[in-house]
Amino acid sequence: MIENIEIDMLLEAIYRFYGYDFRNYTRPFIQRRIVQRVKKENLTSISALQEKILRDPIVMSKLFSDFSINVTEMFRDPSFFKFFRTNLIPVVRDYSEIRIWHVGCSTGEEVYSMAILLQEEGLFEKTKIYATDINKSVLEKAKKGTFSLADMQQYTKNYLLAGGTRAFSEYYKVVADQVVFPPALKKNVVFAEHNLVTDSSFHEFDIIICRNVLIYFNKCLQNDVHQLLYESLSLSGFLGLGKREGIRFTSYGTCYEEFNSTERLYRKFK
């Protein structure tokens, strides 16, 4: 009970002072992250954390990092990319320009995956990918295009499962325990900071990929974001959600038809 009030106050304080609005994130998630931060900071209460956060921006940035979960993979859920390649690409192949918004791109693994996929399909030249995230530091990482060597085995498997047509090793170079992807892959990619909660739509897109972003938001915010996505999506544009997400119970559920229900790909039709 007290904890709840404390969390409310903390989130309000963050919003008022730093401008980040976490008030509509799912409560259990926020609670877990805050409690964890309290422990890590060797504090006794959330109120104590609040004081620290208001006084010390470094703690804030730590908590901010706690709130942004950057779990991603290259070709995450390979079947999604496979389906994207085999069923969605033919639909957009003849577009004069393809605009993709990658919402919550995190460290960019999926953005690079998409770039590789589009390059292999010969569409990268006419594609523009807008990769956005709330977290500036992960965007910096994404811009670098260097990933940990440790995950590459998994990524290679994903690449193969996602129907890659070349050898994955053609795309990277190992430097120490890092893997570098060629800058050519980010040629048509714009990395930008964008906050789904407070920022508005900035373009009209043919495809919006918003995977495993909305799971951290409560129903109300989910609906708001869905409105934003809906408004940013062109008619008969595609919306890709995460494996465990759904659109049915959201405010814009009726505006989309299922393009593929298992891959959570939806197409706007009105």
Partner: protein, 919 residues
């Protein structure tokens, strides 16, 4: 009189009249015919007789004359015969005339004629008798005259007789004409009477009939205008057929009236039913709009209340709170009572509760005035009738509605309620179920999402933990390594010491010579030269002093050279130090001029040193190293230039303006470029990359012709690199070459970091992404290996299975640089044998197209051995073979790389698959 009788009498009388007429006519005709007959037969006969008499009389006379004059017997005989015949005819005619006509006149004439005739005949007899005696006797004329007179009188009489007969006939004819005229007029008379009578009948009958018929039709016509309930009747005047029609019509009209009454009744019933049905349909149509119970209740109550003519209604839904059932008001129609008491009822509480308990509707009539009030803006009044209805589904009360009305409820309204409410029950239930399902689904969806969030969080935490763990491990490993290294170093030192003592005698001697034997005398030489140049005793000529100075500076150079040789070793081992300080560019220029002018002069080559005006006078770098590089480049230039010029141009390069120059560090804005340009033999394009490699020269024969170790450029490049710059070469064979040293200007030198390499690597990827040429990269690799010190490939055991010996050779060379242990097999079978005898192999590079046992089969066989299920196997596929890639993966290859091999790609790949295999 009946219509039939009328028709019969009228037509009958006409027939009778005509018949009478005809009979009369017939009679008259008969009469006239008899008359004519008489005329024709009787009169004609008499005339005929009279004529016969006349004729025969003439004949007698003539015959008698004949007789009297006849001379012969023969003629006498024939005449007598003829005479007698005529006599007979006359007698016969007289007889018949007497018989037919007995009239006085005729009789008198006939009698006279008879007398005369007899007298005549007597005369004739006398004549005849005379003649008979003598045929030639002459007859007395007296006698002849007598006969003649008698004959003439007889003729007169016959003529009279005939005239009398003709007169009579004429009379007869006149008589018959009169009869005919009379008959014609009689006929006309009869006809006129018949016509009058017939017309009279017709008019009488037709008038009688049309009058009745008109009456009937007028009545019948008036039927269309009169209401079906009250149709006009026909008054019956006559008992004829019209009367029957009228009677039949009257009967029909009564039937129609009865029928229309029935129909009206039926229509009313049907209307009521259809009202009921349409209202039910309206309510049913409303159900799908309802998304939840609240909406349903609101829609339902707002629809139903006006439908039954009521003006107030409340909808209570059954809810369960704390194990107790309540009926809660959720929707109302024109309800005004705000009292909390009316918001909620327990089961059995009040009429609402009672109704829910009994599951029966409750009707309240004549409720008191102050029971409830229905209000509008203009006033208020109390409804008189209230119905409370339970809404059930399968005997389970889900809700209760209460409706109030000013009017009493009509049976059809109640029927509507009875019909509608069960359907509401079903819909309500289905909506409740649907909502429940929806809620559950939504819950499950949010649970899934929560789960996903948690799993991501966990993944992140796991990642963090792993990182921490790795760091710890690394630290631990590092400390262990340090320890081991220390131990090793100690051991190595011992060993080295021994080796130095035992086996590296030569090297140590060489080093000793280098360091001691060369430097010591050189140092003394330098000191002595310095002393000499000071010319303490003043006995040296200027020229001699110059010589001494040259000795000194050359010696100094030699010392530097020796140092350089040592430097190279240091560079190679990464131990070269750079000392940055302010360098005066003019000093550099003077130094270069001083150093190379004599050579230029000697070789007859033009030597130009040019400093662009925008170049700053001084900058921050290691002067010695700069000089070293320039000296090297210039001496090379002079070495390879036979004629023409050698020039050194120093200029400033801005990042914005000079795009061609690839800036290694993005944050460096400008650099100094030292271009050494010669007009010498130049370097062929294909060798431009290799000349920077250690111990390489453009041409194998170069060393013979020009001498040199081939170390210079590689040292230069390394040094340039250490100074934060680089060397670029542009050259055409036979045209001369241009080596440009780029050095950062005004830059804070930082030790090389991994990030720089990354940038370089990515730049490299961009430029040479798909280049298959790898030799040029080898240098990079070497450096990287050295600089990073650590490689996950080191000491790893790799098995190369390939039948192409050139491939194997190239791979072996490349992989040995990473200090990998290499095993080679010629084909799949051999590969498996080697693998089985060396189960500690870390990675296999497997060619696909091989004799005896190809790559697919080999991979499959290896994968069938449980021990090697997860062993990384990299398939080397031919680029042309599109399908082999899938086959490789199907066979069980971990990854693939296409030939011809890009070694960079291969190393990256091997790094990926050998990662974490260490330790």
């Amino acid at each position: 009189m009946k219509f039939r009788a009328k028709l019969y009498t009228s037509t009958g009388s006409i027939v009778v009249l005509i018949s009478i007429c005809v009979i009369i006519l017939m009679n008259m005709l008969e009469q006239s015919m008899v008359n004519t007959d008489v005329v024709v037969t009787d009169k004609y006969e008499r005339i005929n007789m009279a004529s016969t008499i006349k004729y025969e009389t003439v004949n007698i006379a003539r015959e008698l004359r004949e007789i009297s004059v006849s001379q012969s017997n023969e003629t006498l005989e024939s005449s007598i015969y003829a005479l007698e015949e005529s006599n007979i005819n006359i007698n016969r005619a007289i007889e018949s005339l007497e018989r037919i006509d007995s009239k006085g006149k005729t009789d008198g004439l006939v009698a006279k004629y008879k007398v005369l005739h007899e007298s005549y005949l007597a005369v004739a007899q006398q004549v005849i008798a005379i003649k008979k005696i003598d045929s030639k006797a002459a007859i007395q004329p007296q006698l002849l005259n007598d006969s003649k007179l008698t004959g003439e009188r007889m003729l007169q009489l016959a003529e009279l007789l005939r005239g009398l007969q003709e007169q009579e006939m004429k009379n007869e004819l006149y008589r018959s004409r009169d009869t005919y005229h009379w008959a014609v007029s009689t006929i006309y008379f009869y006809l006129a009477i018949c016509l009058c009578l017939g017309l009279g009948f017709m008019i009488w009958i037709i008038r009688g009939m049309t009058k009745n018929l008109n009456h009937v039709t007028t009545v019948m016509k008036s039927v269309t205008n009169s209401s079906p309930d009250d149709l006009p009747r026909i008054e019956i005047f006559s008992k004829d057929e019209i009367g029957a029609i009228a009677a039949a019509f009257n009967k029909m009209v009564s039937e129609l009236e009865a029928h229309s009454k029935l129909e009206k009744q039926l229509i009313e019933e049907a209307g009521e039913r259809s009202w009921l049905k349409s209202k039910i349909a309206e309510i049913l149509a409303m159900y799908p709009k309802a998304k939840d119970v609240q909406m349903l209740a609101e829609l339902f109550i707002s629809k139903l209340v006006p439908m039954v003519g009521a003006c107030n209604g409340v909808f209570y839904i059954k809810t369960v709170e704390e194990n107790e059932q309540y009926l809660k008001k959720i929707a109302a129609y024109a309800f005004f009572n705000q009292n909390k008491e009316f918001q909620c009822f327990r089961m059995g509480e009040g009429l609402i509760g009672q109704c829910a308990l009994e599951k029966q509707p409750i009707f309240l009539n004549q409720v008191p005035d102050n029971y409830i009030k229905i209000r509008s803006g203009m006033g208020e009044a109390s409804p008189k009738n209230i119905i409370i209805f339970p809404i059930q589904n399968e005997d389970d009360v889900l809700a209760v509605i209460e409706i109030a009305s000013f009017e009493s409820f009509s049976p059809s309204q109640i029927k509507l309620l009875e019909e509608v409410i069960p359907t509401t029950g079903i819909t309500l239930k289905s909506i409740l179920n649907h909502m429940k399902a929806e809620r559950l689904l939504q819950e499950s969806q949010s649970l899934t999402e929560e789960l996903q969030a948690q799993s991501e969080e966990l993944q992140l935490q796991q990642e963090e933990l792993r990182t921490t763990n790795e760091q710890l491990e690394e630290q631990y490993a590092a400390s262990v390594l340090k320890k081991e290294e220390l131990e090793k170093v100690r051991e190595q030192l011992e060993e080295k010491a021994q080796q130095l003592e035992v086996s590296s005698q030569y090297k140590s001697e060489f080093l000793a010579n280098m360091s001691h034997e060369l430097r010591t005398p050189l140092n003394s030489l330098l000191i002595l030269a310095q002393i000499l140049s000071e010319n303490g005793e003043g006995n040296l000529t200027e020229k001699q002093k110059e010589y001494v100075r040259t000795i000194y500076s050359s010696g100094n150079d030699l010392l530097h050279l020796i140092n350089d040789v040592l430097d190279l070793a240091k560079v190679e081992s990464g131990k070269l130090e750079v000392i940055h300080r302010i360098v005066d560019l003019h000093g550099v220029k003077d130094y270069i001029m001083k150093q190379f002018s004599p050579i230029a002069y000697k070789k007859g080559i033009q030597f130009i040193v040019q400093v662009e005006p925008d170049v700053p006078p001084s900058f921050y770098t290691d002067e010695q190293r700069l000089q070293q590089i320039l000296k090297n480049l210039l001496s090379n230039a002079f070495k390879f230039t036979e004629s023409g010029s050698v020039s050194l141009i120093i200029r400033k390069v801005m990042k914005e303006t000079d795009r061609q120059v690839i800036f290694v560090n993005n944050h460096i804005e400008c650099m100094l470029a030292f271009s050494v340009i010669d007009t010498g033999i130049g370097i062929p394009r294909e060798e431009q990359e290799t000349i920077f490699d250690a111990f390489k020269q453009a041409d194998g024969t170069t060393s013979r012709k020009y001498g040199g170790t081939g170390l210079g450029l590689s040292i230069c490049r390394e040094i340039a690199y250490l100074l934060g710059g680089f060397i670029k070469l542009t050259s055409e064979a036979g045209e001369g070459s241009n080596f440009t040293l780029y050095l950062p200007y005004d830059q804070v030198i930082k030790p090389k970091e991994v990030t720089t390499y990354i940038k370089e690597a990515s730049a490299g990827l961009e430029n040479e992404h798909y280049s298959t040429e790898f030799t040029n990269k080898m240098d990079d690799e070497d450096r990287r290996i050295k600089q990073l010190g650590k490689s996950s490939l080191k000491n790893k055991k790799v098995l190369i299975v390939d039948d192409d010996i050139r491939n194997v050779y190239a791979l072996t060379i490349a992989l040995e640089k990473y200090e990998m242990e290499i095993l080679v097999a010629d084909n799949g079978r051999e590969g498996i044998e080697i693998l089985q005898s060396n189960p500690d192999i870390d990675i296999i590079l497997m060619d696909i197209m091989m004799p005896e046992m190809d790559g697919f089969e080999a991979i499959r066989t290896i994968r069938s051995i449980p021990e090697f299920i997860s062993l990384p196997i990299i398939a080397l596929t031919a680029k042309a073979m599109k399908h082999s890639r899938e086959e490789c993966l199907d066979a069980g290859a971990t990854d693939y790389i296409s030939k011809p091999l890009n070694l960079d790609q291969l190393f990256s790949l091997m790094h990926v698959w050998l990662y974490r295999k260490e330790g």
